[in-house]
């Protein structure tokens, strides 16, 4: 049933959106944040109808600092990741932010009526269908909004699959068990699924890169978590915020810094060095081999799963 969903905008949504927008001092940015907030509220309501848990306050768009720095609108689903919202984009090719948030599920296109009475959830597009090279996606590619539930089901299955495979490996060897047991947390599993999915849709040239990060992440899940949290990076940027009054440049810088940080952040380099040292040891070699095999194995299985479901 290819029908968009119309939702009544509630007055308190508009209130919050106005509050968020008032923090900005540029009119176009104000307008953008206003629409983004309404769009997120609409999506939140829709997911609540389907009994899917989503957390407004954990979304980047809800935190005053990250709201300024991220050019996107996102809604955080505790068990899956983040969904982007594109509000009132009339063009056929809808631009994406240069850097996508971690574990991005996809994007929901929302149209908001000018009288602020109703908003319409036009449809959903999975991250798989993004054109990442050009940072955009085609409006014609979006599917019915209800397909969001199919995507979430797919992610649930993927998480289960990853968990099962890891459990199987850890049952085989003590070293492997010591290595994999911290990864069995739901949060880590979500991250792993996110990264595996990234391997699918990222262009080939980036594959090596991602793969390295992937490995480091898997070896150091805890440190990685703190490093990857954009809040940490953004908190450092807050000093720039005070010095420079023009927000767009900050946003631009932030995304640049974020992109670089994945590779050039000093702490991360140190971590990478540490990892290099460890790989010399035999159990580490075993783990490296196992993870590589597991990744390939999982990629194949996920592909199979996806083919089954679509």
């Amino acid at each position: 049933m290819d029908i968009s969903v119309t939702i009544d905008i509630k007055p308190e949504w508009v209130e919050t959106a106005q509050k968020f927008a008032a923090e900005q001092h540029q009119t176009d940015r104000q307008q953008q944040i206003f629409l983004h907030t309404l769009a997120i509220y609409g999506l939140h309501e829709y997911l609540a109808w389907g009994e899917i848990e989503s957390s407004l306050t954990d979304s980047y768009s809800w935190h005053p600092q990250t709201r300024v720095l991220t050019a996107w609108a996102d809604l955080y689903l505790p068990n899956y990741g983040r969904i982007l919202c594109a509000a009132n984009q009339k063009e056929a090719l809808i631009p994406l932010p240069e850097i996508l948030p971690l574990n991005c599920i996809g994007c929901v296109v929302v149209d908001i009526a000018e009288d602020l009475q109703k908003l319409e959830l036009q449809g959903f597009i999975s991250t798989r269908s993004f054109d990442l090279e050009k940072s955009q996606f085609n409006r014609a590619d979006i599917t019915a909004i209800a397909s969001l539930f199919d995507e979430l089901y797919l992610l649930t299955e993927e998480q289960l699959l990853v968990e099962q495979e890891m459990l199987q490996l850890s049952a085989m060897d003590d070293d492997l068990e010591a290595y994999f047991s911290p990864l069995l947390d739901l949060e880590n599993i979500i991250d792993i699924v996110g990264r595996l999915n990234r391997l699918f849709y990222e262009p080939k040239t980036d594959l090596e890169n991602v793969f390295i990060i992937d490995e480091i992440d898997e070896e150091l899940p805890k440190k990685e978590a703190t490093l990857m949290q954009p809040e940490v990076l953004f908190a450092d940027l807050s000093t720039i915020d005070e010095m420079d009054e023009e927000t767009p440049t900050i946003v631009f810088m932030s995304s640049q810094v974020q992109r670089q940080s994945l590779l050039d952040f000093p702490l991360l380099e140190k971590v990478a060095e540490d990892a290099d040292q460890y790989t010399a040891d035999t159990p580490q070699e075993k783990i490296a081999e196992a993870t590589q095999a597991l990744t390939e194995n999982l990629l194949a299985k996920l592909q199979q799963l996806r083919d089954e479901l679509t």
């Binding site: 049933m1 029908i3 969903v5 119309t6 939702i7 009544d8 509630k10 007055p11 308190e12 829709y46 997911l47 609540a48 109808w49 389907g50 009994e51 899917i52 209800a146 539930f149 199919d150 979430l152 089901y153 649930t156 299955e157 289960l160």
Partner: protein
């Protein structure tokens, strides 16, 4: 199991919206029909997500698209917007939970189209209408309840009566209550509940009765029952008052109301379970017989109906039904085997005081319809004369009146007169019995 599926299969959607509704409901029934036991674990998980998907579709494309859901009136809509939204959410959740198992389009739900049926089902069965009323009305109620609680507390503390200043001292501690409003409320309440007349500034209240009243108000803030202050004036019929002097008219009426409560409750019951004949009649008789002032505006507002509806219901349905009940249930209208006669029948035929003949119809141009009087009509309509009365249409032709006029005349004038006569005959009838 309801008849939803066969109904949906036969149903002809009227527009695009109805087509979508039928589609969503059928999809839900399809999911429901899946036997979970036969599925693998993965399929069960998949089914779970399909249910979630269906639920979101149901709420977005069926529930929120229903055209005739109860809404707050436009004057107060803005004020209650947030509460209404959360109420809607609750009802929507209940809707999703119960629609497939409990909604039965074939049974007991008025409305011709599917959308109308669904709207009515949500408004009445899921109680959206009543919950909305509860939402919109309680404010004044709770304030009054709070004052009542304070009064009871003050009255309990000082059995020798309390002064107005003591009362106001308590009231001023509650910042949200306006002292002037509280005083007026107290003075209004006083004559109903005092145990003795006030001495100067000192009031004496009957605490137990007040407590009862408070409990009743608290329990059923939205149900309008017999006012306990008046209830105390109405004799208790459970202790059969044989030695009592012949019952007065008001006592008879109250007794009738109490005995036939169940029958009367169903007479004008439509979609509003709180608005039935007993309630209307109780209010009416309290006003007529006990000189109790009934605030009709308030009742009408609480019931959520229009005042004109209330009035016409009372006059055209409830009262005639009650008079008819009074006539038919009375011993004088029964055939008496000892005297081999029917008292009422004889009275109507003989009409000794010419009361019945004098009661004839006059139209607004002062044209008298002498033939169309209570005596003739009674003989043509009452069951004791004709087991199968002729049709209103034929009677109207006979008297050269419209059906509506004739029916109104009969219901509002003749039935009332006849029931009064019945009450009178009853006293005469029961007296000789006592002598025996």
């Amino acid at each position: 199991m309801t008849n939803l599926l066969p109904y949906l299969n036969d149903y002809q959607p009227r527009d695009r919206r109805e087509r979508i509704i039928v589609g969503v409901l059928c999809a839900g029934l399809g999911l429901q029909a899946i036997a979970v036991e036969t599925l693998s674990a993965q399929q069960v998980r998949r089914l779970g997500f399909q249910w979630k998907k269906w639920r979101s579709q149901l709420i977005a494309q069926v529930f929120y698209q229903l055209p005739a859901l109860s809404r707050p009136r436009r004057e107060v809509a803005a004020q209650y917007r947030e509460e209404y939204d959360s109420l809607c959410n609750e009802v929507a959740a209940e809707f999703a939970r119960r629609i497939l198992t409990e909604f039965d389009p074939a049974q007991g739900i008025l409305g011709k189209t599917l959308t109308a049926k669904l709207s009515i089902w949500v408004n009445s069965q899921l109680r959206l209408k009543w919950r909305l009323l509860e939402l919109v009305t309680p404010q004044k109620k709770t304030k009054e309840l709070r004052i009542l609680e304070i009064i009871v507390e003050v009255a309990r503390r000082s059995p020798d009566g309390f002064t107005k200043s003591e009362f106001l001292g308590e009231i001023t501690r509650q910042r949200s209550i306006n002292p002037q409003f509280a005083t007026e409320f107290l003075l209004e309440l006083l004559p109903k509940f005092w145990s003795a007349a006030p001495e100067g500034d000192r009031y004496f209240l009957d605490v137990d009765r007040l407590q009862n009243y408070l409990d009743q108000q608290g329990n059923q803030a939205y149900e309008i029952a017999l006012d306990p202050a008046i209830a105390t004036q109405i004799p208790d019929f459970t202790h059969a008052p044989t030695h009592r002097p012949t019952p007065t008219l008001s006592q008879k009426i109250t007794q009738l109301l109490a005995t036939y409560r169940d029958n009367l409750e169903h007479i004008c019951l439509k979609n509003n379970p709180h608005c039935h004949c007993v309630l209307l009649l109780e209010n009416y008789f309290q006003e007529q017989l006990y000189d109790v002032e009934i605030n009709e505006e308030q009742i009408v507002r609480l019931l959520g109906i229009k005042r004109a509806t209330y009035q016409s219901h009372l006059e055209r349905r409830c009262l005639p039904a009650f008079w008819e009940l009074a006539i038919n249930s009375s011993p004088v209208s029964q055939f008496d085997p000892t005297s081999q006669k029917n008292l009422l029948k004889e009275y109507i035929i003989s009409d000794p005081k010419l009361l019945l003949q004098k009661c004839y119809y006059t139209n607004k141009n002062y044209r008298d319809y002498l033939d169309c009087n209570c005596q003739n009509l009674a003989q043509q309509i009452l069951k004791i004369f004709v087991p199968k009365p002729s049709k209103w249409k034929n009677l109207a032709l006979f008297y050269d009146l419209t059906v509506d006029t004739l029916a109104r005349f009969w219901k509002m004038k003749c039935l009332f007169l006849l029931s009064l006569i019945v009450f009178e005959l009853e006293t005469e009838y029961t007296d000789p019995l006592k002598l025996d």
